[in-house]
């Protein structure tokens, strides 16, 4: 039997994308390390982002969302403690309190405690029939419940809310959306981008209640109606899709500093302000690449990349993360929408000076079957004309453009450079004129250049 000398113990709290990314990177950086992951849930290493698509029947079963088996982690030397809650951190003694295990010491700690949904803050929040989409085992149970649901209310048009409205409509459930804003995803998108999505939801049978305040959940034991500023909506189920808030209770209690955006403060190496403690994922905040203002609550791809950085550095390696420009995209209704950095609405709300260019192009050659319209809006800084944001709606090619434009924002590319960009022309996949270039050209034309 071969004996391996353990050099250090690295503990990750949380088994989501950040925690598993951190554990894998730590083990890869220092194979002799004792790498432990504590998760309060039954599973790790699955894609919660896929849950709405199983509910919508686009994905046939939940098993496909698992990326690795429990044996895979065992074989790679990562010791995952399932359904095991960490109740405290003592950064002075370098230990964590684990329910059922007592005090466990660490050499390096990585906090990946994720997010919690913001409480709706209305009466009836303790009723049954309120579904918070997060854990896959609960999602499996809720999926069976959905078979008997005739009417559902989705609370808030957040990214998850958009996905759930689409999924429930696909499922044939009468779906109501209640949102206090004037259009869907109003903080991240503009009405000309959200408009086609909302029209397609109406065609799918959804009932949209914008400018409508949630005032309560009504029922005896189980929700039977959602109360709003415009009256009650009878329902069998309410899907609560409120804002994601950083889960920082453990970190805060341990004296790890929290920032103005509500997340754990970290540097480019995901180091917290406390020695030998790193953090990653939805529980942290990172600077925005354009405004340098910290933001919190990003995507799974951000969490995983941050976890890799934290794990590598905790194990003794060197890796740095970058300020984010937040490319995003999703399928909503019959459309794809996406963007990067600021929308016109958000830039206006923050008071960030900007100029705007808009163009409608096409996704393939105009004569090629399946060609779709594609609307691209670009925001640039006045004067320098550096790209600071983009918004898009179309039926294909949104994700790739959002990724490209995120790099353009990060590297300081100007609208002038985008106006003269080269582009792929191939009838099935790209038109002669790239919509991004058309939008940039329109922006320059609007400025008389």
């Amino acid at each position: 039997m071969r004996t391996v000398l353990v050099t250090q113990r690295i503990v990750a709290i949380g088994g989501g994308a950040a925690g598993i990314g951190a554990a894998g990177a730590a083990k890869a950086t220092d194979p002799t390390a004792d790498v432990r992951v504590y998760t309060e849930f039954e599973d790790v290493g699955y894609s919660p982002c896929g849950i709405p698509y199983v509910h919508g029947k686009e994905i046939p079963d939940f098993e496909r969302l698992f990326l690795a088996t429990k044996e895979t982690y065992e074989a790679s030397g990562i010791d995952v403690h399932y359904q095991t809650e960490v109740t405290g951190i003592d950064t002075g003694q370098k230990s964590v309190e684990v329910r059922g295990e007592g005090t466990v010491s660490y050499d390096k700690l990585i906090v990946c405690t994720g997010f919690e949904y913001a409480p709706p803050g209305v009466p009836g929040g303790d009723l049954g029939g309120l579904y918070y989409v997060k854990n896959i085992r609960r999602a499996m149970e809720w999926d069976k419940v959905l078979d008997g649901v005739k009417t559902a209310v989705v609370v808030e048009a957040s990214p998850l809310g958009l996905e759930m409205v689409t999924a429930l409509c696909h499922r044939g459930i009468e779906t109501h959306l209640v949102d206090p804003d004037a259009w869907a995803l109003a903080a991240a998108t503009d009405p000309d981008i959200a408009g086609p999505v909302q029209d397609s939801w109406l065609e799918m049978g959804a009932k949209l209640h914008f400018n409508t305040m949630l005032t309560g959940f009504v029922g005896e034991g189980t929700v039977r109606a959602v109360s709003t500023s415009d009256g009650d909506i009878p329902c069998d189920l309410a899907v609560v899709c409120t804002k994601k808030q950083a889960s920082t209770t453990l970190a805060r209690a341990a004296g790890i500093k929290i920032g103005s955006a509500g997340g754990v403060i970290v540097d480019e190496g995901m180091r917290t302000t406390t020695p030998e403690v790193w953090a990653a994922g939805d529980c942290i905040e990172v600077p925005h690449s354009v405004s340098q203002i910290p933001i919190q609550g990003l995507s799974g791809s951000h969490a995983y990349a941050q976890g890799k950085v934290a794990g590598t550095n905790a194990a003794g390696g060197q890796r740095a993360y970058q300020p984010v420009s937040v490319p995003w995209g999703m399928v909503a209704g019959e459309w794809m929408i996406g963007g990067v950095s600021f929308s016109e609405t958000l830039a206006t709300a923050l008071g960030i000076p900007h100029v705007v260019g808009v163009a409608e192009g096409i996704s393939r050659a105009r004569y090629y079957p399946g060609v779709k319209k594609l609307r691209v809006k670009l925001l640039a800084e006045p004067g320098t004309l550096r790209l600071i944001g983009a918004q898009m709606v179309g039926a294909e090619g949104i994700k790739e453009r959002a990724d490209f434009l995120a790099m353009a924002v990060r590297t300081g590319i100007t609208v002038g450079e985008l106006a003269t960009m080269e582009n792929v022309y191939s009838p099935p996949i790209g038109a002669l004129n790239e919509p991004i270039a058309l939008s940039a050209q329109n922006l320059l034309s609007g400025l008389g250049r």
């Binding site: 804003d181 955006a261 403060i265 970290v266 990172v286 600077p287 609405t345 958000l346």
Partner: protein, 75 residues
Amino acid sequence: MIAAQQDIAAKYGVPPPRRPRGAGWRGWRDVFWLGVYVPAYRAVPWRMRSAIMRRMPGSHRMRWTDSHRARGPAT
């Protein structure tokens, strides 16, 4: 955000956010935010607002190195 949505809704000719009322009306708090805070906020230049925000505690005040962007020929 409501004030910004009103501006953007007017630009694109879509229904604007309603002024909070009924069960959503928060009384003088809404009067303050929409009638006092928003005009005052907008009166401050972005550079000053940005400078104030950047002085608040957070990750942005920790070490973040700009990635090196190569210039000139790649070969």
